[in-house]
């Protein structure tokens, strides 16, 4: 969204501007505009509503249909303004958001302040049981809309949201949160048109968005979702005429379809393709760091006898040969982790883990022996058998066995949920595999949802780790209005986690995708989504 484009929208009458852009798109720089392609998708879980989508497949489609207040740069992952003209605050508590002119929903309705407030109020109301409910609990008044189980909401509107005029609204948070602007690119914060309120369920089958593409017919479940270019889009218009998301439940089949050029982009390659894809697709094989981090989690509270001492945790970490695992098990499709914060996030520090992240079996054994070891010398490593984790968990088990001289067993759980339930009930006391991928690209998102006190009940802090110093630093970082200062404080909080090592980071994920000869300009963002508006036919 360049300034020039929006200025043109402000100045010119809408019809004139439309005519002008219609002309300019037809003779674009190099590539041809227009054309249709087919890309891979898995069946989304819920109706296509941003506030009710927490999984990647629905998010992929929503990303093409909606434009948020901010969007993330595909390379740096820094937030840049999209529908918002400005997002300002002086204290990180009260935020004033102004919208750009000219943005409309696909049915012609203007994208105004109310369309954001409407969407957020709906998402924050517990009666709607929307997946993204927890994203609104930072906003003032959220407890009235989500008072908890067996209680009824006492309001339908968030107190913290105030519409100032058609193009302006303010958000008041319960406590200062410096990363609020960054958070706003997440699909929970997309706007919704008036038509949504009439029938949310029907809307989810054929959503009316405000992005570069609009629906082309309704969602054909388990078959396809067709979208076409929205010519009145006020941002950077899509080059392609239309895109069909073909729904697969088997990536191997999608990959074979890509090889036959029946579909043009596959943004999640099957494991079976990894060995040959780079030869077969050359520079049409994209391979870049993704937001995920894989850990070995430790139940600090439930099994303090085994994991309570930091030396033991360090010993385990230093006995893991991260290089060997990423190279031999994952064929280089993962990278050894060297920070709790993903390498793609502003605030990541190369080699931050330092000594504890470096393979050193001698030192590991020393630390382990000094600390008195794990009672019985027995360690269990839990993993879910449904997600391709067996190999690396067994590799870790063997390394720990060899390097620490203990008995290690890999314990499979049928499903991830089963493991979480047993951890929650404090029935399972072994170490376990864990992973995190971001909701929005902020260092904060790699710390608070996993290692803070609130995350014990409301997040992914399965080890029930608590450190007051960490909490204080996180709060300070949240309060700071200065972005650079905030990052510095988050890094200090990160340092505490590195020192305490409640989880052991093992690798970071890489996204791998490939596209056929018939398309170009394919970009995949940090959340593994295709930037479809940029794609062109060859």
């Amino acid at each position: 969204m360049r300034g020039a484009t929006s200025a043109k929208w402000v100045a010119g009458a809408v019809i004139v501007a439309m005519a002008a852009t219609a002309c300019s798109t037809s003779k674009d720089e190099a590539g041809k505009s227009g054309g249709n392609i087919t890309v891979v998708l898995g069946e989304p879980q819920h109706g296509l509503v941003g506030q009710n989508t927490a999984e990647s497949e629905g998010a992929e489609v929503l990303n093409a249909l909606f434009s948020g207040l901010v969007e993330y740069d595909n390379k740096t992952n820094e937030p840049k303004l999209a529908v918002a003209e400005s997002i300002e605050t002086t204290d990180s508590k009260v935020w004033t958001i102004k919208l750009k002119d000219g943005h409309t929903f696909h049915n012609g309705e203007k994208v105004d302040a109310q369309s954001f407030v409407r969407a957020w109020n709906w998402g924050a109301n517990q009666d709607n049981a929307a997946e993204s409910l927890p994203f609104f609990d930072k906003i003032e008044g959220s407890e009235e809309l989500a008072p908890g189980k067996d209680k009824k909401p006492t309001a339908t509107e968030l107190k913290g949201l105030k519409v100032v005029d058609e193009k302006t609204f303010t958000v008041t948070l319960k406590a200062p949160f410096s990363q609020f602007k960054t958070m706003l690119g997440y699909n929970a914060f997309y706007p919704l048109p008036k038509a949504f309120e009439a029938d949310p369920k029907k809307f989810g089958e054929a959503p009316i968005g405000n992005g570069a593409f609009q629906m082309d017919g309704a969602w054909e479940h388990n078959k396809q979702i067709k979208i076409k270019r929205y010519d009145k889009f006020a941002g950077d218009k899509a080059k392609l005429e239309g895109v069909t998301f073909k729904i697969y439940d088997n990536l191997d089949t999608a990959y074979n379809d890509l090889r036959a050029d029946t579909i043009q982009i596959v943004d999640k390659l099957p494991v079976s393709a990894m060995a040959t894809v780079s030869q077969e697709f050359g520079d049409r094989y994209l391979y870049k760091p993704e937001s995920g981090v894989g850990y070995i989690g430790l139940p600090l509270k439930t099994n303090a006898e085994a994991f309570g001492k930091v030396e033991i945790r360090k010993a385990i970490s230093m006995a893991i040969d991260r290089d060997a695992i990423t190279k031999t098990i994952f064929n280089g499709t993962r990278k050894p982790a060297d920070d709790f914060i993903s390498p793609i996030i502003p605030g990541y520090r190369k080699g931050a883990l330092g000594e504890v992240g470096t393979y050193n079996p001698t030192k590991a054994k020393e630390l382990y022996t000094q600390a008195g070891g794990i009672p019985g010398g027995k360690l269990e490593l839990g993993y879910n058998a449904d997600g391709g984790h067996k190999e690396w968990i067994e590799a870790v088990a063997n390394q720990l066995k060899a390097n620490l001289g203990i008995e290690v067993t890999a314990k499979p759980f049928t499903k991830f949920g089963d493991m979480l339930t047993e951890l929650g009930d404090q029935k399972y006391k072994g170490a376990f595999r864990m992973a995190w991928s971001m909701d929005y690209p902020a260092a904060e998102n790699y710390l608070r949802p996993i290692f803070s006190k609130v995350a014990i009940d409301h997040g992914s802090n399965y080890g029930a780790y608590v450190n007051e110093e960490f909490e204080t630093l996180m709060d300070q970082a949240d309060k700071t209005a200065n972005e650079a200062e905030a990052i510095k404080l988050y890094q200090q909080a990160d340092d505490i986690i590195i020192k305490d090592l409640p989880y052991i980071p093992v690798f970071t994920y890489m996204s791998s995708s490939a596209y056929s000869k018939s398309v170009k300009n394919v970009e995949i963002d940090a959340q593994g989504r295709m930037d479809l508006a940029k794609v062109e036919l060859n």
Partner: protein, 315 residues
């Protein structure tokens, strides 16, 4: 005959009721996490959202109450909802046609090719053709379906297309390709049963060919075609029809692997997914339909016996 049919149909009612109860009970009893967490995937379900959904779908109710709610809905024509808010009836109605098309096509391939191969092998016992049938069926039986499927998809779907430009066999299912899209998957789905049918036909026909009445028929000078077709085959077909009848239900429900390889979103995949996610209503709806098909197929088989062997009569 008419009374027999009605009796059989009435018998089907307790079978169906019992089946739904059992399946519902089994899905409910399945060990492990609650279905809401399964939906949340790799992240922990938010406790409040999970609680609200549990309340909305009555997941905290005792089993009998849940079953009662479900079954009383069924009698009002409502098969319930998935935990993501889709109607089970829609889900089944979408998936069913694909499964039926695929199963019927596979069934036809299996019956025609299998029986023909079996007859040819039986009549040329010990000759090259017989050996060929025996060897090829042995191969088909010993190679798992997903291997056959992927190999055929790669060679006929991808390689033939990229190397020779022949795109007759689509890699994955596409509505636009019409019935052509079913050929390869139907063949893969039929392959194992086809091999069994061929071997069964071969053995069964060879046995009847040795029977006294066949020798009599040959002795009185009937042409070989008539001896085999009218006399031997008719009797030999009884076990084959039994197998085919039972297999029709198997083709419907057991197509999970084939459907997955060729991206056909049929009943098999829907059911497998539902079992995985502990979506009781979907499992019961889909399985009940399969039970119904089994019952009808079995009834047809029983009726066919009478056609094949006039000594069998139903009253």
């Amino acid at each position: 005959m008419g009374r027999y049919l009605i009796r059989r149909l009435i018998q089907a009612i307790p079978v169906l009721l019992g089946a739904t109860f059992l399946i519902y009970f089994l899905t409910f009893q399945m060990p492990g996490a609650d279905p809401i967490q399964l939906l949340a995937g790799d992240k922990k379900a938010d406790p409040l959202v999970a609680a609200m959904l549990r309340e909305k779908y009555h997941l905290d109710d005792p089993f009998l109450l849940q079953y009662w709610n479900y079954i009383s809905g069924v009698f009002q024509g409502d098969l319930g909802e998935t935990l993501t808010g889709r109607k089970v009836s829609d889900l089944i109605a979408e998936a069913f046609p694909y499964t039926v098309n695929l199963a019927i096509m596979a069934f036809v391939i299996e019956a025609i090719v299998g029986v023909l191969a079996g007859i040819m092998a039986a009549l040329r016992r010990g000759k090259f053709l017989d050996q060929l049938v025996l060897l090829s069926t042995l191969m088909v039986i010993s190679i798992p379906v997903f291997v056959t499927g992927f190999v055929l998809q790669l060679t006929l779907g991808v390689k033939l297309n990229t190397a020779w430009g022949i795109d007759f066999f689509p890699v994955s299912f596409n509505e636009a390709d019409g019935m052509r899209a079913y050929i390869l998957p139907a063949f893969v789905l039929a392959s194992t049963s086809l091999a069994y049918v061929a071997r069964l036909t071969r053995t069964s026909l060879m046995e009847t060919m040795r029977a006294d009445y066949v020798r009599t028929a040959t002795a009185k000078g009937l042409p070989r075609r008539r001896v085999v077709g009218r006399h031997a085959l008719r009797n030999a077909l009884i076990p084959i029809v039994t197998f085919l009848g039972a297999d029709l239900g198997g083709l419907m429900g057991g197509a999970v692997i084939t459907e997955r390889i060729f991206n056909i979103h049929g009943l098999g995949g829907t059911l497998a997914q539902a079992v995985y996610l502990k979506q009781g209503a979907v499992v019961v709806g889909g399985v009940t339909l399969l039970v119904l098909i089994y019952l009808v197929a079995n009834l047809l088989v029983d009726l066919l016996y009478a056609v094949l062997d006039p000594r069998i009569r139903y009253a």
